[in-house]
Chain length 339, copies 2
């Protein structure tokens, strides 16, 4: 079966209008050269066929594809982490308003993490990148800078104080401080922290919000913290140990995934979340929103992140290019029944 | 602050290699014209700078962008529905393997739903589309066909028996039949259905799997079904009414969102899921995976869906174009504690 796949061409317009291709070209580029009735006929054919001068030709003239590359990282199954979905949607909407489309690429787990960038960059398929995984020692930022590829990172350049690229990030410490202070204001004093291993700069940043809030009230944090993997079972185990050894009345966690583990431990022990022991997570996931009782959680302003990233991209891609300073946004607390 | 945004050009290569632009052009297009040492010097400069003949120029020659447009629809907050995230990731990986990138576009709630398609199509920015919302009366398929835009739909053409576009779908009826039969085999006889309103063809299809399985065992479905909105609170209310009026021992739901509502009702009444009353959802969401007890749920083979969609796209974009027949894939059941 044949399928008419090609979009309409200039030749199609010429045939429909019963004129030469040169006449169609003139109608587009030099309409004054044509008689009014001929011009009207060509314009009618253009409208009917939905013809548009080829974007590839336009790109060649402007040296711009109006595409922004984003490596898509899906939520891991078996976790509650799903911020990417909300972030990507905000980004697609905001970028669209500025005339850019988001081009997704994937990098397989076994592959060279830079290959996807290299492929897109060498072929000039994208005008710029958005980099989302700025973990410690991540080579992407340095590599992109070296290739003179414009990019904005969602995440601070943790390992590079002299970074000369724009970035947008959410203040995790402020979010956890907010959560901890919320519990302190409700009378809790023994508030435990369950976070990630020390090599996670994001995790250490979030943890610092807990120590800041506790120390601000002259409360000790000794023996009240646990560092573990970001899995439900790790959160479950860490909560069990802390309950046995430190008797906290509340938990603040670096993720909703860890908070789910804490809730499982409370259930094992017949403790009611929000009544016997309070629990606060981080990311305001779907899971936090639909479980019963609902999980109180720190919510990242991802819509604002998208706006700031697109603003920074527009600066980078203007002439002359402007590198906007880093932007640190403050999260909010979605208060539900658990804390 | 200036920022070096431009990718390397042919002129950059010429300067680095200390040769004319014509020589660089010859090195790429007519290497036999050059002396071996000159060619080597140009190739070295190309390698060092990461220069690649401009993609826009290549696109113009091939009339192809190697981009596939996908309207991104985020999971609604407050629901457990998140199949899109897993689907998009599979799609990006599979399409990448076939030499295509996924270009996302958004359509605001207030806007003309066809505008995003129109913009991309008129500018020839994409080679084809993937359409994901094939609900009853959806004008996209007809509109795209009329514009001769190649597309593959994830979803059957419910309202168009004579559809001449490729489609890939998951057999929702088979999935619900599987779930219901699983409960029947465990001895349940009064199995209730909570699904969507009658105007949802997907919902009616899923429901038909429940009636098929029940009638296959000569069991009545009278009084055991509820049609409602796809929200947690609707599932909660529907379960309360069914428990009062029909005393089911198990629930099969059209979504994990509805199943979460059922679990809330069981909690209200002190009933233990999987022990007192069984519950099965649909979509194998993160929520199903991380709650305790875990929610048994029908799982769509989204990785296979992506493979089949890319296969169909490759057919459409080959010369001559090939329209592959529709593909209906069978889901599996992720069995956990609730059913």
């Amino acid at each position: 079966m044949r399928y008419p796949v090609a979009p309409p061409t200039l030749a199609d317009v010429a045939e429909r209008a019963g004129v030469s291709r040169q006449t169609v070209s003139n109608a587009i580029n030099n309409p004054d050269l044509l008689r009014a009735d001929t011009l009207a006929r060509v314009q009618e054919a253009i409208e009917e066929l939905g013809y548009s001068p080829n974007r590839a030709a336009r790109n060649l003239r402007t040296r711009s594809s109006h595409l922004i590359g984003l490596k898509f990282q899906p939520a891991q199954e078996g976790t509650a982490n799903a911020a990417m979905d909300r972030f990507v949607h905000s980004l697609v909407e905001t970028a669209g308003g500025a005339g850019y489309h988001i081009l997704l690429f994937a990098v397989g787990e076994d592959e060279d993490h830079l290959r996807g960038y290299d492929d897109l960059l060498r072929a000039t398929a994208v005008d710029a990148f958005i980099v989302t995984d700025t973990y410690l020692g991540n080579p992407q930022a340095a590599w992109l800078r070296q290739r003179r590829a414009p990019f904005v990172s969602f995440g601070r350049p943790w390992d590079d104080d002299a970074a000369d690229h724009p970035w947008v990030d959410v203040d995790g410490a402020a979010g956890v401080d907010l959560a901890t202070t919320h519990l302190l204001d409700r009378g809790h004093q023994r508030i435990a922290w369950i976070g990630w291993h020390k090599d996670s700069r994001i995790g250490e940043d979030r943890r610092s919000g807990w120590t800041r809030a506790m120390h601000g009230r002259n409360l000790s944090t000794t023996g009240l913290a646990s560092r573990t993997e970001d899995t439900v079972s790790s959160g479950h185990d860490a909560a069990a140990v802390l309950l046995d050894e430190a008797q906290p009345s509340a938990f603040v966690c670096a993720s909703d995934t860890l908070a789910m583990g804490v809730l499982h431990t409370l259930r094992d022990r017949g403790l009611t979340p929000g009544h016997d022991v309070s629990v606060i997570g981080f990311d305001d996931s779907q899971v936090a929103q639909v479980i019963n009782p609902g999980l109180t959680s720190v919510r990242q302003p991802l819509e604002e992140v998208a706006v700031e990233i697109v603003r920074a991209l527009e600066g980078l891609l203007s002439t002359p290019a402007v590198v906007s300073p880093g932007v640190l946004l403050t999260p909010t607390l979605a208060v539900r029944e658990t804390g």
